[in-house]
Every structure is written in C-alpha cells, then in structure tokens.
C-alpha cells in the first residue's frame, strides 16, 4: 500500500517535471545577471522548454499548463497579461507541425525554433502595443529572441538529458 503511494507520488513528480523545469527557466530569466549588453531574456527560455517538450513529449506540456505558465510569467515579471496568448499560440503552432519535427535533423529543429521565437516576439510586441497604446521599440525584443535562439542547442541538450534520465525510466 505504502509502496504504491510512493510510486504514485514518484510518477506525479516525473509527470510534472517538464512544467517545473519550464517554470525554473522562467525564474532564471528574471534573475538580474548584471552583465552589460545582455538583452532581456523575456519569454525566450520558457519558449525553448515549451517547444522541446511539445515535440518530444506532448502529453507532458498540455495547453492548460502552457496557459498557466504564461499567466505566472506575467504575474512575476510585472508585465501586462499578454504572455498566455503568445505561449498558447506558439504551442498550437508547434503541435500543428510536430509530426514534421519529430525525428528531423538538429538544424531543421533549430531553424524552426528560430522562426517560432521571432514570430512570438513580434506577436508579443503587437500585443504590448495594443495594450499600452504606445509603440514600443522592437530592437531589445529581437536581440533577446536571437539570444534565445542561440541558447536553444545548449538548453535543449540539457532538457534531453533530463528526459533520458528521469522520464524514460517510466
């Protein structure tokens, strides 16, 4: 009986791991790194994680979880509540192209992420413009997106290791 409870807890923890890791990346992107010329990371690290898990383990990153991550992102980041729309849209797009990305070469996957992160930043920029009624300068968002795209291989490989060590044991 006891063992089954522990097993269930263990299973739940494993299932929640992708969302927990995404939230961890979200918090890390809010840390003040105090490095000159480092653009704001914004949603980009979060997008890497969402993109990765939807391709490799879609059941671990359901739409309600993506929506919740967006809400948390704006609440702790102090911005207007526009990230849920951006993240859910991005997740929907990744779901729709997932079958072509599963098993595709690293360059294709990386290139697809690059296109997605740039589109996500443009959508975010439009929504901030709509909400604040003022057009923000786009450049910091684009540099953050480029940094996110550059960080993709490193973070995706870390997530892949976690997936192999923790989730494939199920």
């Amino acid at each position: 009986m006891n063992e089954s409870v522990w097993q269930r807890l263990d299973q739940t923890a494993r299932n929640l791991m992708p969302v927990a890791l995404t939230l961890l990346l979200l918090v890390l992107s809010l840390v003040p790194w105090r490095l000159p010329f480092l653009p704001p990371l914004g949603l980009n690290l979060t997008l890497i994680s969402i993109f990765y898990w939807i391709i490799h383990r879609p059941s671990a990153m359901p739409i309600p979880a993506v929506f919740a991550i967006g809400v948390v992102s704006d609440l702790i980041g102090g911005g207007p509540l526009v990230s849920p729309f951006v993240l859910v849209t991005a997740a929907a797009v990744v779901h729709s192209v997932r079958r072509w990305l599963v098993g595709a070469s690293t360059i294709i996957v990386w290139g697809s992420f690059f296109v997605m992160v740039i589109d996500a930043v443009l959508l975010l920029w439009l929504l901030i413009w709509y909400v604040s009624r003022e057009m923000p300068v786009l450049a910091p968002g684009i540099s953050g997106a480029l940094l996110g795209a550059a960080a993709y291989p490193l973070i995706a490989s870390l997530l892949s290791r976690v997936e192999q060590k923790v989730l494939r044991q199920q």
Partner: protein
C-alpha cells in the same frame, strides 16, 4: 484486447476534437485577458503583488551569485586603475570642499530669506533602501523587483533613486516586495525641466535604452549635454532630482540618456515624498499610465 482497440479507435477522433476545443477555449480566454489589460491595467495588480512576494525570496537567493560576480569584476577593474582613481578622487575632494563652503553659505542665506518671507517649508523627505532581486520583466517591460514591500513602508508611486539620479517609481507593492517601473518603460512619463534654461517638458520611455523628451515649448533652447531634472509637477517626484543628459537633438527628436546604469544596479532608495499624499487621489488613478 480487440474490443479495447476498437474503443480506442472510436475515442481517438473525439479526443482530438476535445483537444482542439480546449485549445480554442484557452486562446479565447488568453485574448480576453489581453482585452481586459487594455481597458483596466489595474485588474491583476493584487495578484502581481502576491506573485512577487512568492518569487522574491527565490530571486533574492539566485541573484546573490550574480551580484558577487559583478562585485568581483568591479574590484578587479578598480584594482587595475587604483592610482588614477586615487588622483581623480583627490581632485574631486578639493573641488567638493569648495562647493561645501558655497553650499553652507547659500543654505544659511536661504534659511534667513525664507524666515524673512515667511515661506512654507518644503515637504519632508524620508527614504527606504532596498535590494534589487529581479531584473527587467521582459523584452517590452522595463521594471525591476525589489526586496522591500508595504511592511517596510513602500507605497505605490514612490520615486526610486540611486546616488546617480532617478530610476523610476513604484508600480506595484506586495507585502515583502515591490516592482519599480523604470524610466525607459513605455508607460513611464516624468515631468521635467532642462536645468540650464528651466524649460519644462515631459520625459517618456519607449523601451529603448534612452528616453524621449516631448512637449518642450516651441523655440526652447536645448543642446547636447544639457542636464535634465524633475520639475516636481504632478506631486509624484520631488523637484530637482537629476534624471539624465541630452544625447541627441535633431529634427524635433530629443533623446536623453539616463544617469543610472540599471544593468549593474544592486541597491536603490525609495523616496517618501509627503506632497504625493496630497495629490494622489487627484491625478493618479492608473499607476502605469499616470504622470510619472
């Protein structure tokens, strides 16, 4: 087994439809949130305060290594030019001592003249110091999270400063944390004047590293290098706080470089300016759109 397989085959399209409906529903809710934010930016204010309180201790812990690294880099840089720095500081001390003499004389004269004219005293100014634990909120939001909240005396709209000048103002307050809207944020507005000519204008953020100077009177004299200080209009900011320096002035576009480098900022001070109490109900209904 085959019966289960048949059920699964029947349920699969239903599940796919269910997923699509859920996706559409969440997109709809997400867009509703965007629309509500546009019409009422205050509606998630309390939730933001609570979320900041939850995440502030974690960020405080995580920001320690980066702060230590920044301090180490600064120490190495300072050590490499300690002789030049020493000579520069000696010069500065000499110059400041002269200014001190002038300031004391002017202060005494000022007090005498105020007494003669029976002038109302300036509002008292108190300070709350706080550590910066969270960086800018996103690509299009310029704000920082600080580890001080309402229990420490932090209140909405308090101006935030460092030794170099103005940073912004408190946008949201939790119990243990608060968020400071930076001058470069798109929702930031600060009434200012040009120190040299005392021409009044409004400084606006646009999400870039510099701010835009708008509503300057036609024909006002302004040149690159002019210092910009708060005018005190609106009652949110005390007058005379240094804000920035004019870097470009062409074709009606005037850009101002902030005096504070918030990339490396570790601590800031919040100014409790008593005058703001008198004016808050009149002109600050929306902290992200009110005059800043």
């Amino acid at each position: 087994m085959s019966r289960l397989g048949a059920i699964a085959t029947i349920l699969q399209p239903l599940k796919a439809w269910g997923d699509r409906i859920a996706l559409f529903g969440f997109l709809l809710i997400a867009f509703a949130l965007v629309a509500i934010e546009r019409s009422n930016p205050e509606f998630a204010g309390r939730a933001r305060g609570a979320a900041s309180d939850l995440v502030a201790p974690v960020l405080s812990l995580l920001s320690e290594p980066s702060a230590a690294m920044a301090r180490a880099i600064d120490s190495v840089r300072e050590l490499s030019n300690v002789h030049e720095e020493n000579a520069r500081l000696r010069d500065e001390v000499g110059r400041l001592l002269q200014w001190q003499t002038v300031a004391r004389r002017l202060d005494a004269e000022n007090q005498e003249l105020r007494a003669l004219m029976n002038l109302a005293p300036d509002p008292k100014v108190k300070f709350v110091s706080a550590r910066v634990v969270g960086g800018t909120g996103g690509a299009f939001v310029r704000s920082v999270l600080i580890a001080a909240g309402s229990r420490d005396g932090v209140r909405k709209n308090q101006p935030a400063i460092t030794g170099d000048g103005l940073i912004g103002r408190v946008m949201e307050v939790g119990t243990r944390s608060a968020r400071v809207l930076l001058l470069t944020d798109i929702n930031s507005r600060v009434p200012i004047y040009v120190e040299r000519t005392r021409a009044r204008a409004v400084l606006e953020g646009d999400n870039s590293d510099q701010m835009l100077l708008n509503y300057l009177p036609t024909g006002a004299d302004i040149v690159v290098g002019d210092r910009i200080v708060t005018s005190g209009q609106g009652g949110i900011f005390p007058p005379g706080l240094p804000v920035g320096v004019v870097t470009t002035s062409n074709a009606g576009t005037i850009r101002v470089q902030p005096l504070v480098d918030w990339e490396t900022m570790e601590y800031l001070r919040l100014v409790d300016y008593e005058l703001s109490d008198l004016l808050l109900p009149l002109d600050v209904s929306d902290p992200r759109r009110g005059p800043q």
